[in-house]
Amino acid sequence: MLTPPRHRIDAPGIYVHHTDPALRLDLVELEAAVSSEWLTTVPATTRDDLAKIYRHPWYRYASGEGRFDLDAKYPLRLEGGVIINKSARDYLDAGATLFRLRRLAREDRDAIGVLLGSDRADTMHRLGRPFDEVVAAAHVDALNRISGLRRAVMLGLDGVENWHAGPWPRGTVVDEARIDALDEVGGAALLQALALAILRYSDPLRRDEGLPSASPGTEPSR
């Protein structure tokens, strides 16, 4: 079942990594546990729908459902059945590192998708090619994926607030030095998370956003 989108289409995409010390993850987990406990008491027929509706606001934000609109409010069910609306920003203390996302052009998004989906090794393996050729192809795949992640971040990161190593204003060109700085802080995991967030932020319209002519259960075309 579709539910109305809670985000604004023109809200800036702002990504916060789940390891950020300013994120009150303990509060998120506590509230999510209350909701999970309540779900065990509802009829099984409505449980899946309600689990989707009352998924914790931080998890909904982090999944990219709201295109990383930090201020999109989602319902939260507290103890005693009280329902309030909270946004992801409500779980951040001052000083959180905010990665501002930029929407990718379609052609860039498609090109990065090709790099990330590189599967030459799998093809070579299925064709029964010699082992050393498969290994060589696997190396190429890995390089392509890393290249895709770096390219996504170079094109789609538009400044960072509260960056530990000084100002990183909007419009700053993300060059190799900046990528290395990100790598130094969070390693490949941070680069991958940023790249996937940028791609999600740049997704075509989804069904709940009015994607025309989509059949129920189908994914938007990429």
Partner: protein, 146 residues
Amino acid sequence: MRRTGKDGRAVVRLELVVDCRRCELDGATAEERQRRADQVYRPGLCCTLPHFDASRWTGDLVTDYHAAPLWDDDDPIARISESGCAGGWITSPFVASLAHYRPVVRSGGMAPARLPTADPVILDALAVLDDAAAATSMAFTEATLT
């Protein structure tokens, strides 16, 4: 503000659906309508939630959604029983945020949109909205003039 369409069914203008305090779909009391309005205008959107009893609507009253981007199917009545009140969708922050990017209708013609954009996702959403608006306006005109 009910009218009868060419097929004999009542036509409810979207304005009645958008303003939950005036919703006449199921003969709810004023208190119930106010409660729903509170839920919709705050982001609770109770009438679009799965646990809302959709059988309480007489969905066959709603044949015109006028600019509702999600109700351009051939059978909007089926959709409302599945996905909830059109008003809940139309008053969503997502649709409201598109308003800045649409031309404004003024006496004497159309004024340009307040905000220009080259964002591909916003442009796609505007195209969907405009297509749905054109289709539903046409349907409403046909229903009321014939």
